[in-house]
């Protein structure tokens, strides 16, 4: 792999042209191809939950959303789930929704707004929002966010395992800064970093976790507030690419478990070939 000028930073991103090939170990009964995995898929019937800043419903690049809720922190400090009539308070959730929609046009989108409770309330809102999403049994939960609070790590871990065994796949942004953050480090989630290629349907498998997959995360064009479009970069935009790809797989092959989905994603990654 080409030498990076900042080689001591965590492995959160990769140049699309310098990805190592991964030799596939063992005998597999038949080649598992991208065509089998996603060709002809639309995301129909798959419920994708966006845990973020809300979604601007009706944005031309997002369309209708199935449901929008928000977590509000009450005066007693307890989080409450309410119907969200505010929408997107930053633009980011709408951006993620548009990326998923572009890849899986017929999936159902659900918005859980965990932002807006102030920076100190975000951790509690995040946990409450994730707990609700897992209990609802959504197929995919996109988490283009993280927390650095150790206090929340154990609960997040428990929720990630519950989702994994319950058939809900959590897709979480890896962190590109030298701090401990969650939930992307947990084995039960699909962690995503950025590559700098231009193909939204190109993903790479990383055999040396904690970052397991790289997807398009640089100079992505998508939705922003008030019907606008914007170009953006960051792992938080790579993550909904993987969520969208998973929605495609699930719409063609329903009933797959999170570990089966991870296996399919790794076997069909562009850099993985039979030895």
């Amino acid at each position: 792999m080409a030498e990076e000028p900042y080689a001591d930073l965590p492995a959160w991103s990769i140049h699309a042209g310098s990805v190592e090939h991964v030799d596939l170990q063992g005998d597999w009964p038949s080649p598992l191809t991208r065509e089998w995995a996603i060709d002809g898929a639309t995301g129909a019937g798959v419920r994708v939950c966006i845990l973020d800043s809300g979604i601007e419903a009706g944005h031309p690049l997002v369309g209708e959303i199935q449901r929008a809720v928000a977590i509000e922190i009450g005066d007693d400090g307890a989080p409450n789930l309410i119907d969200d009539i505010v929408g997107d308070v930053s633009g980011h959730g709408t951006a993620c929704a548009s990326i998923v929609r572009a890849l899986a046009p017929e999936c159902s989108l659900i918005s859980v707004r965990v932002l807006g409770a102030g920076s100190t309330g975000t951790g509690d809102a995040l946990l409450a929002g994730l707990r609700w999403a897992v209990e609802e049994g959504f197929d995919v939960v996109n988490m283009s966010l993280s927390t650095t609070k150790h206090l929340f790590a154990a609960t997040l871990h428990e929720l990630a395992d519950r989702a994994y065994f319950g058939g809900t796949i959590l897709v979480a942004s890896a962190h590109n800064m030298p701090v401990d953050s969650y939930p992307w480090r947990f084995a039960a989630v699909v962690s995503v970093g950025s590559h700098d290629g231009e193909d939204p349907l190109e993903w790479f498998y990383n055999p040396t976790p904690p970052v397991e997959f790289f997807a398009r995360g640089l100079d992505v064009e998508g939705a922003w507030l008030n019907g606008a479009t914007m170009r953006y970069s960051g792992n938080s935009f790579a993550t909904p690419h993987i969520s969208g790809i998973i929605a495609l797989i699930l719409s063609k092959h329903s009933g797959l478990t999170p570990f089966q989905l991870k296996t399919i994603l790794s076997l069909t990654a562009r850099n993985v070939e039979a030895a």
Partner: protein, 218 residues
């Protein structure tokens, strides 16, 4: 040294520290602006008591009176970045009128592009570093992203020092009863000499052990 003198001496040191830390923050925004050949760069401190982001340093257009100005941490670009701990790069944002209005209201300047990185120290989110309107004659790269993260790590250390210094200043200026007591004891210790000072020091060490839950040293 009497208590007033002691307090003054410590306060003088802390004032110097505040100035140094401010100069460091200023240096970071100016360097970030130069490296990215950007129009502006700024650092926001998160005030956890009010859940607001406060301008602490600024390089570029916008006058110095912006320093100290506050904005909500519950919305917007910087709000998302501090809440989710994730960096964000946006370009060509002029199409969004609300975005432009929000920025103009906050900074007096409407950018087309924003790079924002959370300033994290251990598990705490301290603030946000923003770089506005980088030179866009070439596309944004992964190396740019890493460079932004490196600046963020440096700015976080500077912000941590600044907030610790301010906390110490608040203690010395007598905002809290316990701090008053500590200042009185420290000033009294400073006045002692020889055996008396050594004895007082041993007594304080023993008190420290008790407060820490350890058995006092013999």
């Amino acid at each position: 040294m009497n208590e007033g003198d002691f307090r003054a001496a410590v306060a003088a040191g802390l004032i110097g520290a505040e100035e140094s830390h401010r100069a460091l923050l200023q240096s970071i925004v100016e360097t970030a602006r130069a490296i990215f050949r950007a129009q502006a760069s700024s650092i926001f401190l998160l005030d956890e008591a009010t859940d607001e982001l406060v301008f602490e340093a600024l390089s570029g257009p916008g006058d110095e009176t912006l320093v100290g100005r506050r904005m909500s941490s519950s919305s917007g670009i910087a709000g998302w970045v501090i809440a989710t701990r994730q960096p964000l790069v946006l370009e060509d944002v002029a199409e969004d009128p609300r975005f432009a209005r929000d920025f103009a209201a906050d900074t007096g300047y409407v950018p087309r592009g924003v790079m924002a990185v959370p300033l994290l120290h251990e598990e705490r989110g301290l603030g946000v570093l923003e770089v506005l309107d980088r030179e866009t004659d070439r596309p944004f790269t992964l190396d740019d992203m890493n460079l932004l993260a490196l600046f963020g790590a440096q700015a976080a250390i500077a912000l941590d020092l600044l907030t610790k210094g301010r906390r110490a200043s608040a203690l010395v200026s007598g905002g809290e009863d316990e701090a008053e007591a500590v200042v009185r004891v420290a000033a009294a210790l400073e006045r002692l000499e020889g055996v008396e000072r050594a004895t007082a020091r041993r007594l304080l060490d023993a008190l420290g052990d008790v407060l820490d839950g350890r058995s006092p040293r013999a």
